[in-house]
Each structure stands twice: as C-alpha cells, then as structure tokens.
C-alpha cells in the first residue's frame, strides 16, 4: 500500500519534463553547429545561458584548456570503475592485488610515453599538484644550501604562484624574460645561474601561445651546472616527442585531461639516477614512494594510462592531421582579413595551438560575437580577472594588441567542417567589429594611431 503510493509519487517526479535537458542529449555532437544554418525564431533546441542564445552547441576549439574524453579511454575507465574497486594499497586480498595490477599497468604506459622507468612515475591529482610538489618540495628539502629558483615569465600560473609563495618564505626567484617569439634566451639563463640555484623550471609547450622551448639545450646547461631541471609538460606529452634522457629533466609534470584522458589525475616524473630528493606535500601512509600519500583513484589512473598509450600510438598521425587543420585555419583567416598577427614563434610551435591577434578589434567583444565557437582569449586562469594576458605582455606585445588575442585549440577530434565554420564566423565578426572601430577608420584614412594624444580619464 505504502510502497505503491511512494512508487507513484516517484514515477510522477521522474517523468516530469526536465526543461529541455532531454532534448540536449541529442545534441552532444560539436559538429551540429557546423552544419546548422541561421537560428530561426521559436527554435526549441536553442540553448539560452548567461543571457546568450545560440542554436545548437558551439564548436569546441579550446583544446588547451581541456580535451574531450577519448571513447577508448572511457571504455577502459568504465570497466575499471566497476571491477577494480579494491584499494590498490591493500596487500592482503585479491581485490587489492587486482587494483594494484591495473595501476602498475598504467604506470608502465605513462613511463613508456616519456622514456622513463615505471619506478620513476608518481600519480597524483594533476599537473597543478605536480608543479606545486616539485617547486616547493625540492626547495624545502634543500633549503639550507639552495635558496634560488629560476623560472620564466610565461610559466603556468601554478608555477608562478608557487614561486611567489617561496619568495614569501624568503627564497629568491629569477623570472627570466622571453624573446618576442616566446622562447627563452639561453644566454640569459646561463647568466642567471648562481651557486645557490636549487631548481630551474621551464615549461615545454606553453599553454597560451603554444611555443616549444629549446628543451635539449636547457637540459644541457642544467647538467653542466648540476642543477635539477623541472618541466611542466602538461601540454607537451602525447603531442611532441618527449624523452627525459634527451632533455635531461629531473622532474616532469603531466596532466591527464590534456591528452584525451580524465580530469583529476596527473603524474610526476622523479628521476632516480642521479637521485633527486623532494619533500612531499601530502603526508600520510607513504604511498607512491612516500612522495604522495593517499589512495589512488584506480579508474582515473587506468584512464590516464590508456590515454598515454593511445597518444604514443597516434602521435604521428595526430600531428599530421592537426598541422593540416592549423594551416587551413590560418590561411582561411589570412585570405579574407589583414592585420592578423600570430603570437609566438610559428616555427618552434605545437600546431594545435593557434593564438591570433586581430588588429583594431577588442578581444572580449570578438569573443562575445563568436558565441558559436568555444575559444578562449588568453588562458583560462586569467579569464576570471580583467588583466590582459601576462604571457602576451611578456612577449612584448603592445597593450592594445594584448587585449585582442584569441586562442584556437585544434585536437584529435576536430573536423574540417568545424575549422571552415570557425573561419567563416571569425571573419564575419572581425569585419563587423572593424566597421565599428574608430581605430580601423583612422588607419584607413592614413592617420598613425601611435602619434595621437589620447585623452585618458
């Protein structure tokens, strides 16, 4: 009696319409916007969020902020979630052994991708945690003898913030400037090295502008001076060939969700020969060689491992595909528009990251118009504040150009139609905004903007 009443109320609440959520299920494809024409009034599949109305889902071109889960990774994670539920650190029964086995398989997969031994891989929650652990952990361990850290001005915010934290504790940090193409000046690095330098941290591929630093040369310099070399390789693994021996790195940070793996997992490479020590950030039961205590999330780790293995297999193919799409995007935009600047070196660059500035057009207004394309202006970390991107400022870009950058992220699953549609939408919006721009008008009349006395208030 009572159960029947409960069941009927449950049924009523379950079959209540969920306000368009059900219809959204059918629009998970990002290519839907590519084939959609102008939104017509009364479009019941239109999504209205944050005051913006778009028909269909936007094209996803923001691969540097995160990547969609590869279906093969999902399959592996799904199976692992259901079956490998044991605690991988339980030594006494089959459930623990099976889970530990799954973790060790993943460890080998990650190690193979970077040319390391599985014993040198430590799993944790992501590249941010790895960066924090290395920067703070190494300096805290050697705090009596080593008081100096060298890093660059274009590092990821977590590295810069960790360095700032160290400065508050009394360490000294040198933030190396970069050249206008985004690359580190090796002479300046050499000059900055002191006898008490404890760590050099340079990211391999920049998340905002996509430039690839000269890792082998930096590794050689660090080896000469016997300084541990740390690199944030979150945007690099699975995309460019990474070899910890060739680069001579002592520490490397890796992230799962940048290579079509799950979020919430990452890894840290800690060299064993020659041995480098660091203080752990997470104290506890001594898991992961004592460097990161805590129970591992088995299915996350398994997902990360599979993602690394897939990346190793498909790196060459992905590179060709993405390079092709990058050229299509750049040429498509350059054909129709002038005043397009590529931020950062075009030669030493990861193809999947295209950071463009459009002269005389302001970035936020362009983003507002590009609501059918999911792109980013600068990095996600700085998008919460109103600062122009610090990476672009470090490149020496003019203040007004720093406000205009758009970062297109191309990935394994991007299609040609998406690129063509993105080109079309971008060109249309830029032309519309240039029509509205007094600066463009002045340039067309032949006035040199740099010579005008602006009345600031």
């Amino acid at each position: 009696m009572a159960s029947k009443a409960i069941f009927s109320t449950l049924r009523r609440s379950l079959t209540k319409p969920h306000g368009g959520a059900v219809s959204r299920r059918h629009h998970l494809s990002t290519t839907s916007a590519a084939t959609a024409s102008e939104p017509y009034p009364g479009d019941e599949h239109a999504i209205v969020m944050k005051g913006v109305r778009i028909s269909g889902r936007p094209l996803y071109l923001d691969m540097q902020s995160t990547t969609p889960l590869d279906p093969r990774v999902f399959d592996a994670m799904n199976a692992s979630s259901i079956y490998d539920y044991g605690n991988p650190h339980s030594r006494t029964h089959l459930y623990g052994w099976e889970a530990e086995n799954a973790v060790e398989v993943a460890r080998i997969q990650v190690a193979k991708l970077i040319g390391a031994s599985p014993k040198e891989i430590v799993f944790l929650s992501g590249a941010t945690e790895a960066n924090n652990t290395v920067v703070k952990g190494v300096m805290h361990f050697y705090k009596d003898k080593k008081r100096h850290v060298i890093t660059t001005q274009t590092e990821h915010k977590c590295v810069l913030d960790s360095c700032r934290h160290l400065q508050q504790e009394g360490f000294e940090v040198t933030y190396l400037p970069v050249r206008t193409d985004g690359l580190v000046d090796l002479e300046m690095l050499r000059e900055a090295i002191r006898p008490d330098t404890g760590l050099v941290s340079v990211m391999a591929v920049n998340n905002e502008i996509g430039v690839v630093q000269p890792m082998e040369e930096i590794g050689r310099i660090c080896k000469e001076h016997k300084i541990p070399f740390h690199t944030d390789a979150a945007q690099a693994i699975g995309k460019i060939p990474v070899d910890v021996e060739k680069w001579n790195v002592s520490f490397m940070s890796m992230s799962g969700h940048k290579i079509y793996g799950p979020k919430g997992v990452g890894a840290m490479y800690v060299r064993r020969r020659p041995r480098v020590r660091l203080e752990p950030l997470m104290n506890g039961g001594g898991q992961e060689r004592g460097l990161r205590s805590g129970t591992l999330a088995t299915q996350q780790v398994v997902g990360f491992g599979v993602a690394c293995e897939l990346a190793m297999k498909e790196m060459e193919y992905d590179e060709k595909w993405i390079k092709r799409l990058q050229e299509r995007l750049l040429n498509g935009v350059r054909e129709k528009l002038d005043g397009v600047v590529v931020n950062g070196s075009l030669e030493s660059r990861y193809a999947g990251n295209l950071n463009l500035s459009f002269a005389y057009v302001e970035g936020e207004s362009l983003l507002m118009g590009l609501k059918e394309v999911a792109v980013s202006s600068g990095s996600a970390c700085t998008s919460a504040s109103l600062e122009p991107s610090y990476v672009l400022r470090a490149l020496g870009v003019d203040e007004d150009m720093a406000h205009t950058s758009i970062r297109f992220g191309i990935g394994r699953f991007t299609t040609e139609e998406e690129i063509d549609k993105a080109v079309e939408l971008t060109v249309k919006q830029v032309e519309k905004l240039r029509e509205m721009s007094p600066l463009y008008e002045m340039v067309k009349e032949g006035i040199d903007i740099k010579n005008i006395q602006w009345s600031q208030h």
Binding site: R25, M49, K50, E362, L439, W454
Partner: protein, 159 residues
C-alpha cells in the same frame, strides 16, 4: 522494496544522462540589452568631420582597451541634435554604452544631453561594477562631442 530500487535506478539513469550544457566561453553574463545593442548596433558610422554642423568627440585610449568616437549633427537654427553616429573599440559593454548614447541624444537640445549621466546608461544596461567605466566613457564622449561643436561654432563666428 524492489520497485523503489528500480525507480531509484531509473532516477539515477536519467540524471546521469542529463549533461549540463557547456559554457559559451564568456565568464560573466551580459544583460540582454547589451547583447541586443551588440548584435543590432544602432547608428554605427561616421559623419564628415569637417561639416560645420557636426561635433566629434573622441575619448579613451587603446592602451586602456576602450576608444569611443561619438558624432552629433546639430540643426544650426534650433540647437537640437538631429542625428548621431558612433564607432567604438572596446568590449561589448562599451559598444552598447555608446550605442545607447547615440539613441538618447537624438532629438534633444545640446544643453539637455549634457545632463545625461553615466549612471542612467549603466542602469539601462544593468552593467556590473567592473564595467561602469564604459558608461563613464560614453558620458565623456557626449560632452566631448558637444564641446567640439561649440568650439567649431565659435571659430566660424556663429552663436
């Protein structure tokens, strides 16, 4: 018991497929008035700067990320603003503020438009605190345009 468990499973099944739509890439919500002015801007364009009935106000700086050019066409006999045009380099709120400014100055006397306050523009567009400077710039642009027209009149020996 079994039926409740089944119903609960159905509930779980439904909620797991309910994917939350992704953000459209902007980090704060714009009022629909702002978006309307951005999608359908009113009065974009230019008048001839050298026309004696036109006043031009150019305010802001590219380094700040906002430049507004507001032009008014004034009827010489009555002193009323008969038409207005704008061009803006700036964010969506800046474009909307200057578009609203051109709408509000049309058909008004010059002295009257000098009383337009940035707070009114901001209220009409529901601008968040970080974007109030856009409305300030619009108010400055109106004043600058009126000032420019008056200076022109003095030069040509008019009233």
């Amino acid at each position: 018991m079994m039926m409740i468990r089944q119903a609960a499973k159905k509930a779980l099944g439904l909620t797991s497929r309910q994917s939350t739509p992704c953000s459209v890439g902007i980090f704060r919500s714009y009022h629909e008035n702002v978006i309307d002015h951005y999608d359908n801007p009113r009065n974009v364009g230019s008048f001839d700067k050298n026309d004696p009935t036109v006043g031009t106000g150019l305010v802001g700086a590219p380094a700040c990320g906002d430049v507004m050019k507001l032009q008014i066409k004034v009827d010489e006999k009555t002193g009323q603003i008969v038409d207005a045009r704008f061009k803006t380099f700036g964010c969506g709120s800046a474009i909307a503020s200057s578009s609203v400014a051109t709408e509000w100055v049309k058909g008004k006397a010059m002295e009257e438009v000098l009383t337009i306050k940035n707070t009114e523009i901001a209220k009409h567009l529901s601008l968040p605190p970080v974007k109030l400077h856009c409305s300030m710039l619009a108010e400055d642009a109106i004043k600058a345009a009126v000032k420019d027209y008056k200076e022109k009149r003095v030069k040509t020996g008019g009233v």
